[in-house]
Amino acid sequence: MSSETALAAGQRARGLAPFLRSQMRNIAPFLTLIFLSAFFAFASPSFATLDNLGNILTQVSVTGIIAVGLTFVILCAEIDLSIASIANVTGIAVAYFTLQESYVNIANIPLPGAVAIVLSILLCALLGLVNALGLTVIGIPSFIMTLAMMQIAAGISALLVRGQIAYKVPSLITTLGSGSIGGIPWIVIVAAIMLLGGHLVLTYTRFGRYVYMVGGNREAAEYAGLNVKLILGAVMVISAVCSGIGGMLGVAHFGSAQQNEFDTYLLDSIAAVVVGGTSLFGGRGGIGNTIVGLFVLGVLNNGLDHVNIDSFLKILIRGLILLAALVINVYAQRLREKAVE
């Protein structure tokens, strides 16, 4: 046992450089976060305050909730482009099933709050199931399948609100989306719980292991007798349900439910997962990486507001940071493969 530990340590200690290289996917995002935080703290006195930390946490919460499910999908070397649309339609659905003020001109179906929430969750789960069936049974690549679902979910949203805006959602959702307890916004707590839950599932359950193995080598997973299609289907449903929860709380957080409300969340969620260092080729990374990615994105978005910078330039800067993260992601994969072979 002790010799084993020594040998395993030896594998790592064949030099610090190889070890660092194999861990680049975890180290690089963290260094980026520290660098960005230090930069903005230096550039703006209003950045490094406790208040602002609260702002950042609140700002990344909806992205964080959606990114939990997306992490599962990307770990399996698949992609889900329908997350933002599913978040939108679920948020709209929960408002659609809630009694609106008389000036809201939507022919909706008011139901008790609990029923509205359950129906909305069922809706996003169903859309996730359609993704899952398209991917596993029919064999449509997830990129294309979820692209179609993006349109389908947007279409359902459009039919439900018909260009109008709804405001009311069940009181539980209102509380979780926009309320706070002891000064901490509920939405931050929900995001934290979901991220923690995702981490526990991925790290400590059999299903989590299967997700990593399917992502690491799908062929080998199949030859090991795993039901690869079932696992892929499950991650698509998980992704859709996480998106749906993010959408419901997001609607409460913004105070309204309308078309195209979540469009920016598609890119933000993918960026959070990938910037955090989860491999686009599957099998490497995890919720820990996603959390770091969320903070990098949150600090960047928030920090750019604190420094005096052309607001149009901000978009370009975000794009460049994303590109840099992708380069590191692909490069890290190659370094790791070399370290192993």
């Binding site: 084993e4 040998l7 395993a8 594998q11 400590y204 359950t205 059999r206 989590g208 292991r209 299967y210 990593y212 193995m213 690491g216 080598n217 062929e219 080998a220 997973a221 199949e222 030859y223 090991a224 007798g225 795993l226 039901n227 690869v228 299609k229 079932l230 099998g283 490497r284 790791r336 493969e337 192993v340 072979e341």
Partner: protein, 500 residues
């Protein structure tokens, strides 16, 4: 018939080594104009290496290389191509998503003054070329939609009609049906009349004898015989290929080996009339508990497809599978695993997680036995440690990434994952390929040990030695059909080769 002509291609004293291992030792080879020259020899005897030297793929070697009597040295395959040498490799190399015509003109499409592809001309000329070959297909259809044999014929046709003076065909007939083989042969004969020289490599000795003028036999990197095809027999060639007497390495199974009387133990697997497109034709056999069934055949004989069907990775077109008497159609590999079937495929890349530690590779197939919801890593490591000890996997560290292990040890890991909860039926593809003698013996002992534990084991291999060293009963598979069963009788390498 070829007396007095000077060779178009002549190689003298060719020696080639890979990392200190000599693949060719002082080989002389001459090819006459308008000759079909057959090459035979076991896997690794040096045939393909020599052909790759001729085709400019291997450029580092010692010895003289003459074309039309002038010494030449190719620096690349492009040089060989320019000198009129073309080769069809064993693996199909076509573009399935392009049309038939595009494949025929791959890299050489007719274009007009603007550089645009002349589609109509290309389709017409492709159709004409293929018609000369007796192939009647729409040149504008997608190549991948055609049967594999036809795709192979089209690839061969492309090379044959590329205007090359010397054409090398490496195992061209393995995926072809008998009428297709016939068509290929008549085309080869016609090209010979036109003066093209052809080198024909095949495991099918009958094919070689039928079509070639001269046969050369390789063994262990040496040319051991060269004779006119009309002056030899299949038996004589096999004898020359595997060698009698002094030169044989280790245990070469040239002598008869007595297979035991078939066991009466229960039938674990019954396969009835199994068929799959062009790969398998009405295969029927049984595998019994406590018995190792060997299935031998050349590459492309349908072994690989058969093993995938048994494990639920491929779905057969027809026929039934009975495991323990219950008819099964596996919807997934998971279903096959639950029914008690296990498979170790031939490719280590496909079956293992190289970036994951050894213990996760061993536990992956039994996780549902040791944990219902939460993982139990300590138990996983214990199980892995036991397997590592039993199979003598080196280094004995279960936390090491699998990619750090040597090939033989990786192969043992692939086996290890099925051994903690042994399956009813274990299917092994090429279990000892690429292993050194020590690791080979380890695997042989493991398999024998499993047999005494009452598993039904199927060993599929293209190497006669592997089958002979393990099997109690042997089926010979040829072009997707069972052509011979050896049981309770003497068997040897030449008998196996003879049957295949």
């Amino acid at each position: 018939m070829s007396e007095g002509r000077s060779p178009i291609l002549e190689l003298q004293g060719i020696t080639k080594s890979f990392g200190g291992v000599e693949a060719l030792r002082g080989v002389d080879f001459a090819l006459l104009p308008g000759e079909i020259h057959g090459l035979v020899g076991e896997n690794g005897a040096g045939k393909s290496t020599l052909m790759k030297i001729i085709a400019g793929v291997h450029t580092e070697f010692s010895g003289r290389f003459l074309i039309d009597g002038a010494e030449t040295h190719f620096r690349s395959a492009r040089d060989a191509h320019a000198a009129g040498i073309a080769m069809v490799h064993q693996e199909l190399s076509v573009a399935p998503d392009l049309t038939v015509a595009e494949n025929v003109f791959l890299g050489n499409q007719p274009t007009n003054a603007l550089g645009l592809v002349q589609w109509r001309r290309m389709a017409r000329e492709a159709g004409e070329q293929l018609a000369r070959f007796g192939i009647d297909v729409d040149p504008m259809s997608r190549l991948g939609d055609l049967p594999i044999g036809l795709q192979q014929l089209i690839e061969i046709a492309r090379v044959l009609f590329s205007g090359a003076r010397i054409v090398i065909l490496d195992e061209p007939t393995s995926a072809l049906s008998p009428p297709e083989v016939e068509r290929l042969f008549s085309t080869l004969r016609r090209l010979r009349e036109e003066g093209t020289s052809i080198v024909f490599i095949s495991h099918f000795i009958e094919d070689i004898l039928r079509v070639s003028d001269t046969v050369t036999v390789f063994r262990n990197g040496r040319k051991v015989a060269e004779t006119a095809s009309s002056a030899t027999t299949k038996g004589a060639l096999i004898e020359a290929m595997i060698g009698r007497g002094g030169e044989a390495l280790e245990h070469s199974y040239t002598d008869d080996l007595m297979l035991p009387r078939p066991t009466e133990s229960p039938v674990v697997l019954k396969v009835d009339q199994l068929s799959l497109a062009r790969s398998l034709k009405d295969i029927s056999f049984e595998a019994r508990a406590g018995e190792v069934l060997g299935i031998y055949g050349f590459m492309g004989c349908g072994q690989q497809e058969l093993s995938r069907i048994l494990f639920g990775k491929l779905k057969p077109d027809g026929g039934t599978l009975l495991v323990d008497g219950t008819p099964r159609t596996f919807a997934s590999t998971a279903a096959a695993r639950r029914a008690g079937v296990a498979l170790v495929p031939e490719s280590r890349r496909d079956m293992l997680f190289h970036q994951e530690p050894v213990y996760k590779n061993i536990s992956i197939s039994i996780l549902d036995r040791i944990s219902s919801l939460l993982l139990k890593p300590a138990q996983e490591r214990d199980i892995a440690r036991r397997q590592v000890e039993q199979l003598q996997i080196r280094p004995p560290v279960v936390g090491l990434d699998l990619g750090m292990l040597s090939g033989g040890n990786q192969q043992k890991v692939a086996l290890a994952k099925w051994l903690t909860y042994p399956p009813k039926l274990l299917v092994l593809c090429e279990p000892t390929r690429g292993m050194d003698v020590g690791a080979k013996n380890d695997v042989i002992n493991i398999v024998r040990d499993l047999r005494t534990k009452g598993l039904a084991i199927i060993v599929l291999s293209t190497e006669p030695e592997t089958v002979l060293s393990l099997a109690d009963r042997i089926l010979v598979l040829k072009r997707g059909a069972v052509v011979r069963e050896f049981k309770n009788e003497p068997v040897s390498k030449d008998r196996l080769l003879e049957a295949a």
